[in-house]
């Protein structure tokens, strides 16, 4: 795993591919994801949060992993095979990179999810209801967008849509109380935190 982490941080694509193929020679795709990809992406994500790894490395490596996994585990409908029905969205602002990375990391970790791109509160409520979501992942970059989460929460409740909301993005990194203040159920400080949050919630739902 540490070998893969090094290759990911160096963005050494041939080496990443070779390590992946080597793992696939002895294990099935799901095991490789669980034992190799998920922990490696977590290490890269934690490295970003600690300041040891840069965003450009997080972004490029998450894309490489997403590509590799897509080849062995094509995307399926969210919610298949007992997975939680989940979606990711950029709430109100226009900065898509955080969402893009979280999406790639979740896909590379074997999860399927809806990508709502950018939406405002009313649009999210409509889609969340239609898609019967269990989990909604919200990414923001601007503080005013983070402060919209309470409105999102009450609009969902008013419509009888009971989803768990995980939030992430720069404002939550700078104010670590903000996620509670806005009424989210969890916060992630790096993209790979989304994996742990989703796994835990799926465990609890069993």
């Amino acid at each position: 795993m540490s070998e893969l982490c090094e290759a990911l941080e160096a963005l050494d694509r041939p080496r990443i591919e070779a390590l992946f193929q080597r793992a696939l020679a002895t294990d099935g795709p799901l095991q490789v994801i669980e034992r190799l990809i998920v922990p490696s992406l977590k290490q890269v994500g934690d490295g970003w949060h600690d300041g040891r790894v840069a965003l450009s490395q997080v972004y490029m490596s998450s894309r490489i992993c997403e590509d590799m996994i897509r080849r062995v585990l094509p995307a399926r409908a969210p919610g298949h095979g007992g997975q939680a029905r989940m979606a990711i969205v950029v709430l109100n602002d226009y900065h898509m990179l955080g969402k893009r990375i979280v999406y790639s990391v979740l896909r590379a970790s074997g999860f399927d999810l809806f990508d709502y791109e950018r939406m405002d509160v009313a649009e999210i409520v409509d889609r969340a209801e239609a898609d019967r979501l269990d989990i909604l992942l919200v990414s923001v970059l601007m503080l005013p967008s983070a402060l919209k989460v309470p409105e999102l929460r009450s609009a969902l409740e008013a419509r009888g849509v009971h989803v768990r909301i995980a939030v992430g993005g720069a404002p939550f990194l700078f104010d670590t109380n903000l996620w509670r203040e806005v009424g989210a159920d969890a916060v992630g400080y790096s993209a790979s935190d989304a994996v742990g949050i989703v796994q835990q919630w799926m465990e609890e739902a069993k």
Partner: protein
């Protein structure tokens, strides 16, 4: 009586002035003072001049800050800006849709970019009001950070890694624009230029890549700017590249609340003046006591020997930060910022 400019120049010379200078980077708060929407406020130079003067009187900050918003530079390149009621405007759609578009791109001429005139007028009018008593801080986006708005962050990262020739061309275009824009602000009366370069931060790219990309671009650009510059990482991390940034020829470094100010001070001593690093996002919910404690902590870590200007860590105080907090910061600087700082254990 010491003027704000004298105080700032003393600290820039790594000497102790009468007290720690305070740069309160209030931009949108001027709209609140004038009872205008943020969009209306930024539509005329007169508003921003009036707003800045009222804020100066209210908070006695040691600078004036005629910064409108980052995406104004995108407007100069033909893009647009999206306004909201309770926060800073954001850039609209990118102007570079495919990397091939870079081959046809040309730097806009500042003399023809009407959207920029408001800033130059603002600077000129502020200068007429304060003369050489209060520094007027102009703002540019670094050539290396502007592309996030020009093409989107994801495509820009891909460009840096995958298309070196197009990346170089984009830097040349942005450098030409940045130099002209900075020099126009200096000619209009700005005292110094704040060079926003957060993509160079180790939050965003690793140091070895910075040394090949953001750093040489900053060196080429700062050399051609006819006045003092401050490099700001907009709350991105910089501890690992302090000496590299000093080598670009900048005098000041804006630093992040996510890093230890004492370590930053050790790295910057006698090389760079530090600017920061109060946490602006958290600031909206500080009590007066918390504000005082944060000010004390920052001054204790970085104030000794000068080379320090207290400010928020991003270069812009969020709209949501209440007056009470800003006044508490002001009071705390008056109380704890007087040199010599004998109260520090």
């Amino acid at each position: 009586m010491t003027t704000s400019l004298q105080r700032v120049l003393t600290t820039l010379g790594h000497q102790e002035p009468d007290r720690t200078p305070l740069f309160l980077f209030t931009t949108m708060h001027g709209a609140r003072e004038l009872g205008l929407s943020i969009q209306e406020y930024f539509s005329r130079a007169e508003h921003v001049v009036e707003g800045q003067m009222r804020l100066l009187e209210k908070y006695r900050s040691d600078c004036l800050y005629p910064f409108f918003y980052a995406s104004l530079e995108l407007e100069a390149f033909g893009g647009d800006t999206l306004f909201i009621e309770n926060g800073p405007p954001n850039a609209g759609r990118p102007i570079i849709h495919r990397s091939e578009d870079i081959d046809q791109l040309e730097p806009p001429s500042v003399a023809k970019a009407v959207c920029l005139f408001r800033v130059l007028e603002t600077i000129g009018q502020l200068k007429a009001r304060v003369g050489d008593t209060v520094p007027i801080i102009g703002v540019v986006m670094s050539p290396f950070s502007l592309p996030v708005m020009q093409m989107g962050f994801d495509h820009y990262i891909e460009l840096i890694y995958e298309q070196p020739a197009r990346f170089s061309r984009l830097m040349a275009i942005n450098e030409a624009f940045c130099v002209e824009w900075a020099n126009a602000q200096l000619a209009a009366g700005a005292t110094a230029i704040c060079f926003f370069d957060p993509v160079s931060s180790t939050t965003n790219i690793p140091r070895d890549l910075y040394l090949k990309t953001g750093q040489p671009s900053a060196m080429r650009t700062l050399k051609r700017i006819n006045g003092p510059t401050a490099t700001h990482l907009a709350s991105g991390r910089g501890l690992g590249i302090v000496a590299d940034i000093a080598a670009t020829g900048t005098a000041v470094l804006g630093v992040s609340a996510l890093e230890d100010l004492a370590l930053l001070k050790d790295a910057a001593r006698n090389k760079l003046t530090l600017l920061g690093s109060l946490n602006g996002v958290e600031m909206r919910r500080w009590t007066a006591d918390e504000a005082e404690a944060e000010v004390k902590r920052a001054i204790a870590k970085a104030g000794r020997g000068g080379g320090f200007i207290l400010a928020d860590n991003h270069g812009e105080i969020p709209w949501q930060v209440p007056d009470d907090v800003l006044l508490a910061i002001r009071d705390a600087v008056d109380r704890w910022g007087r040199y010599p700082l004998n109260w520090i254990a």
